[in-house]
Symmetry: C2
Subunit: 271 residues, 2 copies
């Protein structure tokens, strides 16, 4: 409970010397809203990571009781949902250019990973949440249209969209787990970020060369090459594989149904 000043503050046409101090301890605390809850969740997550967000820490940050949150959100899962939806609004979507559809697909993947990285904890929140918010839908729409522009089957386009979201999410999640493990290492001990790498390298080096000849190669290779190259390889393999997949039939009605051009869209909406 915050301590109250003697002269209570009142809104209205009351002449009050508004000092900075009076501002700080505004007695009428703002009403709880979904908006304020998701804002607090994002702030907490940015400061303390995914595990820093709980119904209780959220209530604390909002200076209320945990039970109060349940008047505005169904449960913990919905908080994650709201956070993910809000972040997904920041996802840039390209104007499809049929000549560059593969490059544009790749760029979307890079943008998605950058978005996860800019919001630490978001990958973990996104895991197990179906992004049905407007941001997610806009991104999915763009990806599918890029695929269709490249002559990809609608079925393949849908699956590819799903598969890419899974990949970027998994990479981002893995990065978060690693980053967290490094930070969790005893503060006074060895906060050395390469400790894990060395441990891994040692393990590979210790393997029997006779039984696992290829593992020596893996060890050497994993020492070189950073996350960026690995990610680029991942999207390269997928986009190449998609491009190699059987293309869809190009019957006119498919054309209209599956990849309407802007004029067709406006015609349809007008009719």
């Amino acid at each position: 409970m915050a301590e109250k000043r003697e002269r209570s503050y009142r809104a209205g046409p009351l002449r009050v010397r508004v000092t900075t101090e009076a501002r700080e301890e505004r007695p009428a605390k703002p009403r709880l809203t979904r908006e304020r809850i998701v804002e607090a969740a994002m702030r907490l997550m940015a400061e303390q990571g995914y595990d820093g967000v709980s119904m209780r820490s959220l209530a604390r940050a909002l200076d209320t009781a945990p039970a109060s949150l349940y008047a505005h959100v169904a449960n913990r899962e919905e908080v994650d949902q709201l956070v993910v939806d809000r972040i997904s609004h920041l996802m840039p979507v390209p104007e499809p250019d049929p000549d560059r559809w593969q490059d544009q697909l790749k760029q979307m993947m890079r943008d998605a990973l950058a978005l996860y990285r800019a919001h630490p904890g978001s990958a973990r929140a996104a895991m197990g949440v179906i992004p049905l918010g407007e941001g997610g839908v806009r991104a999915a729409e763009a990806m599918v249209r890029l695929c269709l522009a490249g002559g990809v089957t609608p079925q393949a386009a849908a699956w590819f969209c799903d598969l890419m979201a899974l990949y970027v999410g998994a990479i981002a999640y893995e990065e978060e787990v690693w980053a967290q493990r490094e930070n969790t290492t005893g503060a006074g001990e060895a906060p050395d970020p390469e400790a894990l790498d060395r441990q891994l390298a040692d393990h590979f080096a210790s393997l029997s060369r006779e039984r696992y000849p290829a593992m020596a190669v893996l060890a050497a290779v994993m020492a070189s090459g950073d996350g960026e190259e690995r990610f680029e390889f991942g999207i390269y393999v997928r986009v190449s594989g998609l491009a190699a997949a059987p293309t869809r039939s190009r019957r006119p009605d498919d054309e209209e149904l599956l990849a309407p051009r802007p004029d067709e869209v406006s015609r349809r909406s007008a009719g």
Copy 2:
């Protein structure tokens, strides 16, 4: 605390009528070992899913106190690690056949998914655990050798191995989350497993056709096609993409270093 019989049981050359009852309430309960802990964890996970396993439930199942477990395992994470290592031993590894390397890679992915499915909860346990146990290493060795047999760059082979593990793990994890959500639905209510599907379909149907023309396609497509086809598409795209990647140079020394044949291996180990 279990109730004790009057005549206390003693090991040694004491004549005791060993009835089935006496067997049942053996007073000397078996010593705690890592082995017994991982067995109990797997049993609990099979019966109640991943969330059914906790240090406390594990202790309960082993008829001991939570603190006792810490004499044998470092923490909760190590329990997951041990479970994953044990399961990975069941992963079948093929004898590489250079003519069928792509098919063999695909089959390994199918086997891995089948293994996750056979052990519900294992995908979640594997998430955030680097499978350095013998089973994991054996599988990785086999995958890398398949890639090398196909003329793939060592770098690409290593990355591909990683990428595939990520994919199968993510798919299996997603399946677990879905399965769990279905089971969690109020028992008395609608345990209907298609409820989520319908909800999703409704959502897609509700989207503005003008703004998201491609989403209608996605909705139609997602209604058809089961998880198996989707998974097959995923491995098809990846293996095709890998096959399309630049192949490694075939200088003799590379040949020996990177893909030693059995006779070379034994020669090296002897020297």
